[in-house]
Subunit: 259 residues, 2 copies
Amino acid sequence: MRLLRSHLLLLLLASSAAGSLLRTVPEEPSTISSGGGGGGGGDALYCDSWRLSVETNDAGPWTRIPARCIAFVDEYMNGERYASDSEVIAGEALAFAEAVEVAGDGKDVWVFDVDETLLSNLPYYAANGYGSQDFNETSFDEWVYLSKAPALSASLKLYTELQALGFHMVLLTGRAEVQRNATEQNLLFAGYGSWTQLILRGASDIGQTAVLYKSKKRAELLAQGYRIHGNSGDQWSDLFGSPQATRSFKLPNPMYYIS
Amino acid sequence: MRLLRSHLLLLLLASSAAGSLLRTVPEEPSTISSGGGGGGGGDALYCDSWRLSVETNDAGPWTRIPARCIAFVDEYMNGERYASDSEVIAGEALAFAEAVEVAGDGKDVWVFDVDETLLSNLPYYAANGYGSQDFNETSFDEWVYLSKAPALSASLKLYTELQALGFHMVLLTGRAEVQRNATEQNLLFAGYGSWTQLILRGASDIGQTAVLYKSKKRAELLAQGYRIHGNSGDQWSDLFGSPQATRSFKLPNPMYYIS
């Protein structure tokens, strides 16, 4: 033990940050930072951890945000953080895209989900408890038919940049075919244009999980000769399943979960 | 955005019904929250977004943390947030585990990675720039042979709780077979015990990516009749690949990336 400690001391002295190491090395069998969750950070600390677990899919399927996190989600979505998170992820997508060799035959595509990816339904969710209430299909469909959802700014910028790089846009949404006109109208209103395909759920897709439906549609795209370089979506069910894009980009969404 | 927010406030005051949304929607094509990344939040805002993109794997392969994020990662790791994030994820893992029917034949297993999952190398990384420096295998191996890494508190608690539920523990690490004794000694020092298998990289595994090596080992476990219910790791390469556990749990690690 003493020998080990002196070795550790040598390691400390050799390092450029010995001071901070001294603080953290335990004398006895020990653990790192117990009790952080209850250490006074309260709802903000818990809710930020809950949000991470949602974004990493650790939380698994869930139906409503925790009641104690409503104010947190409000602040996250309407403050700087949601925009910043979206921008950093879009920047990483663009950095990847810039390294792709685009053939120029119209077959190099990027797949985008629609809701909470290209379009933001934040106005609707702000009026409906930020995901703390049970999903109300009737009132959400009323919102969809208004065709007034704004663009997610980082996605609109990425969309335009990808088009400038020569990628073609495929929009793959869980919305139903009956909502095609309203969706197209909303996308144009928000500033999107010139997509190659807008794929909505047809009669035979209704009732399938998003993972199954979207994987099937990606397979059809490959069968049509498209090369799917990137896939951007706010749900893991936009991205998981086979076949996948070369790179998948999970956008933040702490308001709802789709399996 | 400020305009949108004031409209939303009106909306909230007026009614929660979707019909009133008509009044609150922007009149012109609009976007949600432009410019958040440069809106004065500075390094903390950027680094928190960078961290999310790492945890969601949006960042893709990376070698060093951004230089501007060293202080952020220090504070994240040593403050309440790392502990809280780890605890919330461990809680979600336990909630899943409690719903599993354990047969009692010793074949119901949970796979744990070792570094930054069961054991914390935070003392080492605190002395070496929190991942801002190139990885130095020699000095890291010296640290490994000290066998003094503390437990990650949330993982030790989960490990013990899973054993109480009847799960058997399989430890699957990228460490080399030559480090078996030091690793066992460290695990025992940190409070872990009674694992079923500790799997390290053998001669034939050296040079393989972690995804390939760990998937292969999970396949061998299935071939041995084990049922892999859960898999906890701080790298996506601990969790991706086939076969997978029924549920995978990504633990936080903003200090390094392993492909």
